[in-house]
């Protein structure tokens, strides 16, 4: 067994043995282990397969930069694909599965791709699979693409909370620089928050610390997104999404060690040198028994003594530089290793685990060294993701071979090693060798040969290069690949690294669970239901609900639907119906210029509107198309009630405010939205008056005292009410507005009062059919954003209005005068038994061209046949014409009629 656990040391709890499974086999580790450390301790080297070539892969790192050790985990009902084994703590009962191999990790059929690697070079898919058609190859490519897999669609995904903070100074990173920055900032009296990925740290003073927290992204105005791990719950990990708005941001996120570039530097057993040390110190795990260090910097030599002390034999140190520092040389001597400076080539031996290295000396000889671990250090580069996301500029630091933060304005700082504050200098990162066997991006299998090929083909701009080779686009987002890849790009294209810019860093820094981003707004909270004041009454009446205009509204009561809707319609036409219209948009307008304001807003003339009278009104957008309809009620010369369609209630309020505040600030008008303050219960039908009489005490409901299109205030069932006598059904109707909390009382009183007279509640479906019979417009169904009032036959009314109003100017556009505009008409089927469908198009026999379409259709139980409203080219001049209504291949013969089918004289309204 090559890797093994030391008898003592490490920050693991040896008292708690944790058993887990990896690909079905049982292993043991300790509490405090990660999956990666436990697997290394057990001698497991092969943990995954790469994306493109299915190369065998082992653990490369010990942190969040890990590109290789991505696994699928299952614990109880919790599952997660693409988990970095280097981060996930071991838990009892954990099942771990390797990814991207079939039938097994060891014997993977996809490894075939690595037999002819130069065939599957970067961008190969753009050069082939063209004939005869990509669709023939695509299914195969899709099946082999992808890394993770959803094994159980129903699995738990953990729970997520969300928290917002506002702070003067936010420090990201809990290393020495971050702690110092936080402490110093706190000393000035500023409020300070620190987020860091490590365990709890004791912090003296007033700094708020979020531990186990990774900062993921910086959005505009220094809003930092971070994800905190809060332990384990019954549904998996409990995590909290933090949204921290900071005045100043200190990025102290440290550095990330980079690989060296040599042949087969991707083999399982080739690891980052710093991670070898971390596995020793933190987990007491020897990543190998006999190691070769491949380095380009003196700092990496510091670990040699610790390795040796732990029993890792260091066979050789291979450095890309001609000479190394004195201290480094001494460290090599002490470790008893051989120092090989600047060999001409370097290659790793072994397939699914390292068996040795081979290199060519400058003197010409080729040497082999047997080892089971290659530790590499290409130097450390500042972790600038967050700094760059916060729009901080970067400059290239030659000594470090890295992009480092340059000073930024506006409260953005980098601190410590993230700022590039290290005095180490690094040598070449690259050894000579076969370019197509030298890995740059481990997960996506980007090699030096791919870079050369991309450059050869002109993909030399960083963004083209990145996209063409897919460097840095894998799950690890280039944390261990971008530096080396950009160097190779510069080398092959002759560009200077000073001129190259790393690709744009964008959130998230590490992959962010989609469910965390969604936060608590999922399931029934996705868009919380808005319920009517009488929701409970509707439920008791067996209402069938749907979301209409953002409200849960009864479509009809009881089942089956067709029969119920017909019965509800019959009740309204012959007895009386009760309707909950509470979402109706309601606005109160007052002030000396309220009337002038309304005159400018609506198509209708309102100056003649007497107190206590109501008018149906139409509103246009500034381009002359119909926006909304509703009613205006005059309470007094300076006081008006306005209703809008339910769906537009909020939009119209904002529209009014925009005009009042931005366009006509001199008009003295106060606009108050009261939609949800008032519940609206409508009593409609020939029996409406007699039923209202029984509950309304102090309003004279007499035909002449309270005629159609008028308004009264009074008491209904002992509740103060505003009553509009308006109708959307064609029958005598009273729209009774009472305060929202009293609405159920009034609803129940009316229901009780009408029970003996055949009163039935009716829903949206019946209302829609009733208004279609009458040809009343439903804005948004019978109109769209191209419909003008001229198309609706309002030309004469508009000519009569002396004053200008919004949209009037546009109505003279030539397009709006065309005779073949879509105009509102009525339709009836020639065969009285035929149904008409919304969305059917109108065509002439033998002509495959739409001349219009049905916007509202219903079966009229009153008339005994279907009726429909439609928009038809030049429709008003085509009365009596026969057309076909086309619906997905079938046609129905229809006749064009006026858009009103019931009580054409309007006698019932006046009754």
């Amino acid at each position: 067994m090559s890797g093994s656990r030391l008898p003592s040391g490490g920050r693991i709890d040896r008292g708690r043995v944790v058993s887990f499974r990896f690909d079905g086999r049982e292993y043991e580790g300790f509490a405090g282990d990660t999956i990666a450390s436990a697997l290394l301790a057990a001698g497991v080297r092969l943990v995954g397969r790469s994306f493109r070539l299915h190369r065998p892969r082992g653990v490369l790192s010990s942190g969040l930069e890990e590109p290789n050790a991505l696994v699928h985990i299952k614990l109880g009902r919790y599952e997660e694909p693409n988990v970095r084994a280097t981060l996930f703590p071991l838990r009892p009962g954990l099942e771990v599965f390797s990814q991207n191999s079939w039938p097994s990790l060891r014997w993977d059929i996809g490894a075939f791709f690595d037999v002819l690697p130069r065939l599957w070079s970067a961008g190969f898919y753009h050069k082939t699979f063209i004939w005869p058609h990509w669709r023939l190859y695509e299914p195969v490519i899709r099946a082999v693409a992808g890394i993770g897999r959803v094994r159980s669609p129903e699995a738990f995904a953990g729970t997520f909370a969300q928290r917002d903070c506002e702070v003067d100074v936010l420090v990201c990173g809990g290393g020495p620089a971050g702690l110092t920055a936080a402490q110093e900032a706190a000393r000035t009296g500023a409020s300070v928050t620190l987020v860091h990925t490590g365990e709890e740290i004791g912090f003296a003073g007033t700094v708020q610390v979020f531990h186990n927290t990774v900062a993921l992204g910086v959005f505009g105005e220094k809003v930092v997104l971070a994800l905190q791990d809060c332990g384990w719950g019954p549904q998996g990990p409990r995590r909290c999404l933090l949204r921290i708005r900071a005045k100043s941001l200190v990025v102290a996120t440290g550095m990330i060690e980079q690989p060296m570039v040599f042949e087969h530097n991707d083999r399982p057993g080739v690891m980052l040198a710093g991670s070898v040390t971390e596995y020793l110190e933190r987990y007491a795990v020897k990543a190998g028994g006999r190691a070769v260090l491949v380095s380009n910097n003196d700092a990496a030599y510091d670990s040699l003594a610790a390795w040796r002390a732990a029993g890792i034999e260091v066979a050789a140190v291979i450095d890309s530089r001609q000479a190394v520092g004195e201290a480094a040389e001494a460290a090599v001597r002490e470790s008893g290793a051989q120092l090989i400076a600047a060999p001409l080539g370097l290659s790793v031996l072994g397939r699914s685990r390292v068996r040795g290295v081979r290199f060519r000396l400058a003197s010409g000889g080729v040497q082999h060294i047997v080892c089971d671990l290659v530790a590499m250090s290409g130097g450390r580069v500042p972790n600038v993701h967050l700094y760059s996301q916060a729009q901080g500029p970067l400059t290239y630091e030659r000594g470090l071979h890295a992009y480092t933060p340059a000073p930024a304005p506006g409260g953005l700082y980098a601190a410590g090693s993230a700022a590039g504050l290290q005095d180490a200098s690094v040598g070449p990162t690259h050894f000579a060798g076969r370019a197509h066997r030298q890995w740059l991006d481990f997960q996506h299998d980007v090699t030096v040969a791919d870079v050369a090929s991309a450059v050869e083909q002109g993909y030399t701009q960083v963004e083209h290069f990145k996209r063409y080779t897919t460097t840095g686009m894998a799950v690890d987002q280039g944390k261990t690949s971008l530096r080396n890849a950009l160097e190779q790009l510069a080398r092959h294209s002759g560009q200077s690294l000073d001129d190259l810019r790393p690709p744009t860093y964008r959130p998230p820094f590490v992959p962010l669970p989609l469910a965390a981003a969604a936060g608590p707004n999922v399931g029934r909270w996705y868009r919380p239901e808005r319920r009517l004041p009488c929701h409970a009454e509707h439920v008791a009446l067996r209402a069938h609900f749907d979301d209409v205009g953002g409200w849960r509204r009864p479509l009809h009561y009881g089942s089956p639907a067709n029969e119920c809707v017909a019965a509800e319609m019959r009740a309204v036409r012959t007895a009386v119906g009760l309707f909950d219209g509470s979402p109706l948009g309601k606005l109160e307008l007052s002030g000396p210029d309220a009337l002038e304001f309304l005159e400018r807003l609506y198509v209708n003339s309102l100056r003649s509107l007497a107190p206590g009278r109501v008018r149906y009104v139409l509103m246009l957008r500034d381009n002359g198309v119909v926006f909304d309809d509703g009613t205006v009620t005059c309470i007094g010369p300076q006081e008006f009630l306005v209703t809008t369609t339910s769906g537009n209630a909020e939009r119209i309020y904002l529209w009014m405010r925009e005009w009042a505040e931005c366009e006509w600030p001199r008009l003295k008008v106060l606009i108050t939205p009261v939609t949800t303050a008032w519940g609206t219960v409508t009593l409609s039908g020939p029996g409406a008056r007699s039923i209202l009489t029984r509950v309304a005490t102090n309003v004279d409901l007499g035909k002449d005292a309270f005629p159609h299109m008028s308004f009264r205030e009074g008491q209904v069932a002992g509740v103060p009410a505003r009553i509009h006598r308006v109708s959307f059904t064609g029958e005598v109707s009273y729209e009774i507005n009472v305060s929202a909390d009293q609405t159920p009382t009034v609803w129940r009183s009316l229901q009780a009062a009408g029970a003996a007279d055949g009163l039935r509640p009716y829903g949206i479906d019946a209302l829609n059919a009733l208004r279609t019979e009458k040809g009343y417009l439903h804005i948004g169904a019978d109109t769209d954003t191209t419909t003008t009032p001229l198309d609706l036959g309002w030309g004469t009314a508009i000519e009569r209005k002396p004053q200008d109003f919004i949209g009037r100017g546009a109505l003279s556009l030539p397009e709006y005068q065309r005779p073949d505009r879509l105009q509102l008409v009525g339709l009836v089927p020639l065969d009285p038994g035929a149904a008409l469908l919304n969305g059917a198009h109108l065509v002439r026999t033998g002509v495959r061209r739409s001349e219009g379409y049905i916007t509202s259709a219903c079966l009229s139980p009153t008339l005994g046949h279907a009726v429909a409203l439609a928009r038809l080219e030049g429709g008003r001049a085509r009365m009596g014409e026969e057309l076909l209504a086309y619906d997905r291949g079938t046609t129905t013969r229809v006749r064009v009629v006026k858009p009103i089918f019931y009580d054409i004289e309007g006698l019932r309204l006046q009754a």
């Binding site: 753009h126 083909q457 981003a517 969604a518 707004n521 469908l837």
Partner: protein, 415 residues
Amino acid sequence: MSSRYSFWRLVRHGYLGGGSWSSAWHAAEPKPHYDVVIIGAGGHGLATAYYLARKHGLRDIAVIERGWLGGGNSGRNTQAVRSNYFHPQSAKFYERSLRLYESLGRELNFNIMLSQRGVMTLAHSDHELDALRRWCNAIQLNGIDSELVTPAQIRELEPHLDLNGRFPIAGGFLQRRGGIVRHDAVVWGYARAAAGLGVDIVERCAVEAIEVQGGKVIGVRTNRGRISAGQVAITAAGQTNTLLEPLGLQLPIVCSTLQAMVTEPMKPLLRMLVNSPTVHVYLSQSDHGEIVIGGGTDGYDSYVQRGSLPTLQANAAAAIELFPVLRQLKILRTWAGVVDITPDTTPIMGRLPIQGLSVNAGWGTGGFKAIPAGGEALAETIATGREPEIIASFGLGRFAGGHLIDEAAAAGVAH
């Protein structure tokens, strides 16, 4: 001429000592004069150059780009292609575009990975289903494939879709020929083909001014010197007005940020591009395995290529609402582009009131699918001096006359 791509060439280059690949396109130095200068090397600009050279025999063409080729919306979209538009003018145009896409890989000798796995729009209520029926019938009458599907059929097509979520699914509307295309490949494919026909592609060349004399365009002034030109075409999306305003012209375009994201690459989960106007999200899975998620714009005017956090979160929640299985996945990358939106969400194409100056802009959230037909039509406009029939209704004049083609009104949501 660049080397031809084929499987055989891959083998030869990889293993039989077949030499090197030639450059897909050359980074050209701008010449002092061109017959045609196209501003903006995105899909539309490059396609225009390609068709000018290929179909109209013009060779003296430069496409100039202030940044890098394909760095605007061509490289920032969600790769959707479809032709299921409501109005006949739009339908005809986008159908032409989809047809061109269907043969583009072969024509350009560049695999653009057109993946016609279908585009499905969901209805969450009977009212919405009515709207889809109207839309579906319109498209069928326009001679384009489309069908309505029932919830049971949807369950078969997309097993992971939750039919009974907060907004239960009442049905859907499907164009099977719709799908996705690898966006960068379209840009690179056109660039390579255009360069092969002698077009100069000049990156990092920013236009400082369009020069006009006596009502006629005479060239452009750039950070790399003056370039005189017989004709100038603008294919610069959101930057169109920045270029035009000094000339006293302003197109009715407002710009807004549209963002998208991808998850980590997964083995196949989604089959189609699924779009819900109500839940306001659309999703597809690329051939690479990433789930691509997009939604509405950030909701305010902006020129910033950086998405806002609230919209990102809304898109994530909406994606999970439709596909609860996505809870297990992680967001890998996010990005944003600036979309140029006209009042009727229909583009502005054709000649401008300055002689020799034409434009192709205002694609809003749907410009990617329009690239082939947009390039083809603008090329014909430049070459013949008049707009072809297929874009006759897309002219600037429609705003004066009021003849708008409101696809948003028809479709509810664009993508």
